[in-house]
């Protein structure tokens, strides 16, 4: 701690002021760009789900190796909460940054298309690529999303988040 206080002292007042000004201006520019991208994406909301059709034919036809695997649904739910819920909402119903995944366009698409979107993201609209998650984990998320489809068909309440082990 002493070492770090010495480090901070050594920056001096001017150094800190410069850094703060620099930081605020850099953050402001980044934020302004992000907002303009978000506004542009909102203008084109009608085509939000059109990206699902961009998946190549070969990818659309891929089969989910975890189809109907209840363990995979639970694991996918956990992964969804960790990586996706912040943008798409805890119940996948959509939030300010990401569209609803309960919409017909998503629910009726193939598992392969969902997997392809998850892998490649939609960078121009702000969705990052998720290929850093291993392939089985991405399929587990797809399995979870498909389980939401079954729930919406049967008009049941949405699946809550994954259980926490104590």
């Amino acid at each position: 701690m002493r070492a770090h206080l010495a480090w901070l002292r050594a920056t001096g007042r001017d150094g800190l002021v410069n850094l703060v000004i620099f930081g605020i201006s850099a953050f402001g520019s980044a934020r302004a760009l992000a907002q303009s991208e978000h506004a542009a994406a909102n203008k084109n909301k009608k085509s939000t789900y059109a990206v699902l059709a961009e998946a190549p034919q070969k990818e659309r036809g891929r089969r989910n190796p975890f189809e109907a695997d209840t363990q995979a649904v639970a694991a996918g739910g956990k992964l969804f909460e960790q990586h996706c819920a912040d943008c798409h909402g805890r119940k996948a119903g959509g939030a300010r940054k990401g569209p609803s995944l309960l919409r017909e366009e998503v629910q009726q698409t193939t598992p392969g298309s969902l997997f392809w979107i998850l892998t490649n993201g939609v960078v121009r609209r702000g969705m990052p690529v998720w290929s850093k998650l291993p392939e089985p984990e991405r399929w587990q998320i797809v399995t979870f999303l498909q389980s939401l489809k079954l729930q919406s068909v049967h008009s049941q309440p949405e699946k809550p988040g994954p259980q926490r082990s104590q």
Binding site: L8, T11, R13, F27, Q82, R96, V123, S131, P136, R164
Partner: protein
């Protein structure tokens, strides 16, 4: 006779306290937390960027052995912000303690990473551009460039800090992920902004894999999928005046990351010098936490739309 106290030390104390308060408030702020699937690399970069609107706070420390001088502990804080899905911007503040010598601030860096392609490919490129404003006592060894060798770091801090470096560093981040493995290769060029200084070359390569590729159904700290292990290698390749491996240093470092469900990531790395020009040991650790929705939170503070 009335004497007036010098206000400078008090102001510095306040500035330091403000900085500490800012850091702690960031850690405690109520923006939502997400599990960051962080790679274990400390020097090498893959092509993955910060999620848009997320802020990641990172603290790293490097303990290095020094022949012909005192061992040191260099440390740095990173503020990494995902501006868009294709642009991540980051500020570093760095300092170091040289044992039996002193602790000093060594400068700051402003790093930007740009994703070049919209979709995933077999090899994915990203561009890295960094401005460095550091002094000669900077020992974080975040990259080893040109003819950097161990003896460059042997002098005392008083001597080393007299040198000021304004550098532009560029990397091409090439990365590929296949069957859970990530392989990343970073060719590096650096230019000191003084016209008389040459362009320096360097490299960093890394490979890593999670210990399990399938997630378990429940949240758990010790599930195998939370751990990623790998190895990285980095070193200098000379400069435009004298390219090649002579008078360069190189390191091989096993790396390890533990992504906790409580949103923290712990990284460990022990780098071993591969030739006589290298520090024998660079022991590194890092702690980071990601805050999703940070951009919106700050935007609201400044009157942005809810």
């Amino acid at each position: 006779m009335v004497t007036r106290a010098n206000p400078e030390p008090a102001r510095r104390k306040v500035a330091a306290l403000l900085f500490i308060a800012l850091t702690f408030s960031l850690f405690l702020c109520r923006s939502s937390l997400v599990l960051a699937q962080e790679s274990p690399y400390i020097v090498t970069y893959d092509h993955y960027l910060e999620e848009p609107g997320s802020m990641e706070l990172e603290y790293f420390s490097t303990f290095g052995t020094q022949r012909g001088g005192n061992d040191f502990d260099a440390f740095w804080t990173e503020f990494e912000y995902g501006a868009t899905a294709w642009w991540t911007t980051e500020v570093y503040l760095a300092g170091q303690t040289t044992f039996n010598d002193s602790t000093i601030f060594t400068g700051f860096r402003w790093e930007n990473r740009f994703r070049l392609l919209q979709r995933e490919h077999l090899v994915n490129p990203a561009l890295y551009i960094e401005y460095e404003n550091t002094n000669g006592a900077d020992k974080i060894l975040k990259e080893v460039e040109g003819h950097d060798v161990e003896s460059d770091y042997a002098d005392s801090n008083v001597v080393l800090r007299k040198e000021h470096d304004h550098e532009l560093e560029m990397k091409l981040l090439l990365s590929s992920t296949f069957r859970g493995w990530n392989v990343a290769v970073n060719p590096i060029v650096t230019k000191n902004l003084l016209p008389s200084e040459p362009w320096e070359f360097a490299y960093a390569i890394g490979a890593s894999r999670p210990l399990a590729l399938k997630a378990s159904p429940n949240r758990c700290n010790f599930c195998r999928e939370n751990f990623i292990a790998g190895v990285e290698m980095y070193g200098g390749l000379g400069d435009t005046r004298s390219a090649g491996l002579h008078d360069t240093s190189h390191y091989l470092a096993p790396v390890f990351a533990w992504n906790l469900p409580s949103d923290w990531t712990v990284r460990l790395s022990s780098g071993f010098g591969l030739n006589d020009n290298s520090h024998r040991l660079l022991l590194r650790w890092g702690l980071s936490r990601e805050f999703s929705g940070f951009g919106e939170l700050v935007g609201r503070l400044f009157g942005g739309r809810p």
